[in-house]
């Protein structure tokens, strides 16, 4: 349903720097408001949760509703004190989980 997520995390940062992270995942985000050709409501099927962790610690998360556009885009910040790995997770209404990781060198 959803394809490979894309994330943009800087490769390097100074200790304590606040970096900007951009993420995008392909998903049609069916809002549950549209009707098919026969006038039946197409059931809602969206990504409802996004989380970002750094070395296992929560950084940022978002609860999404039907009003988020298709191929949901998220841009947010993170403060990095040491090198480590960001883990990004998307969960949709069917329970499918998509994850990707990204490393950063600090120092």
């Amino acid at each position: 349903m959803a394809s490979k997520p894309r994330v943009k995390v800087p490769k390097k940062a100074a200790p304590g720097e606040v970096i900007t992270i951009k993420t995008l995942i392909n998903h049609k985000m069916e809002s549950g408001q549209r009707k098919d050709g026969d006038g039946n409501l197409i059931p809602r099927m969206i990504i409802n949760k996004f989380t970002a962790e750094f070395n296992g610690q929560p950084v940022f998360s978002a609860d999404m509703h039907g009003a988020i556009s298709a191929n949901p885009y998220m841009e947010f910040t993170a403060k990095v004190e040491q090198s480590g790995t960001f883990k990004f997770t998307w969960v949709d209404d069917e329970g499918s989980v998509y994850t990707t990781e990204s490393e950063i060198t600090v120092g």
Partner: protein, 151 residues
């Protein structure tokens, strides 16, 4: 959306009731009152204060299917000066909720951008909840040329 005048009038009367019972099916839209009610819930009985929150939206959105929105709150994001969450509401969509961002000390700043759907011209409201329980809001009107609800 095929709707004659009679339907439109009936809908207007029924919309509030629909939204209240959460039966927003297809054609019923949320109203400013629904959003106000949710704001009061978050703020614990009164309306959140205007200020501190910066909500940036385009004045005119040609395509309601993808409207960029940016929200931020001035905060040190440390100690007592923390933003817990920012929630966005759209008062003219079938469901007023858009998204809730949750922040932590590791966020470094209370700031996020995303893209949302808007069914028609309406107000977008951002509410920030601070760690000490206080709440702040900002409101912007977005004019939508082509709605984003597939109707």
């Amino acid at each position: 959306m095929n709707m004659n005048r009679r339907d439109a009038l009936a809908l207007g009367a029924g919309a509030a009731a629909f939204a209240l019972t959460g039966l927003a099916g297809g054609q019923a839209f949320a109203s400013a009152e629904d959003v106000d009610k949710k704001l009061m819930e978050i703020a614990g009985g009164s309306m959140p204060e205007m200020g501190k929150v910066m909500l940036a939206t385009p004045e005119i959105a040609e395509n309601g299917n993808t409207v960029p929105v940016s929200v931020s709150v001035e905060s040190a994001m440390a100690g007592g000066d923390m933003v817990e969450s920012i929630t966005l509401y759209a008062d003219g969509n079938p469901n007023p909720e858009v998204v809730t961002f949750h922040f932590t000390a590791l966020s470094g700043a209370a700031q996020a951008n995303t893209r949302m759907r808007l069914a028609k011209t309406q107000n977008v409201v951002a509410v920030a909840k601070m760690a000490d329980g206080s709440t702040y809001m900002d409101k912007k009107q977005v004019k939508v040329t082509i709605g984003g609800c597939g109707g």
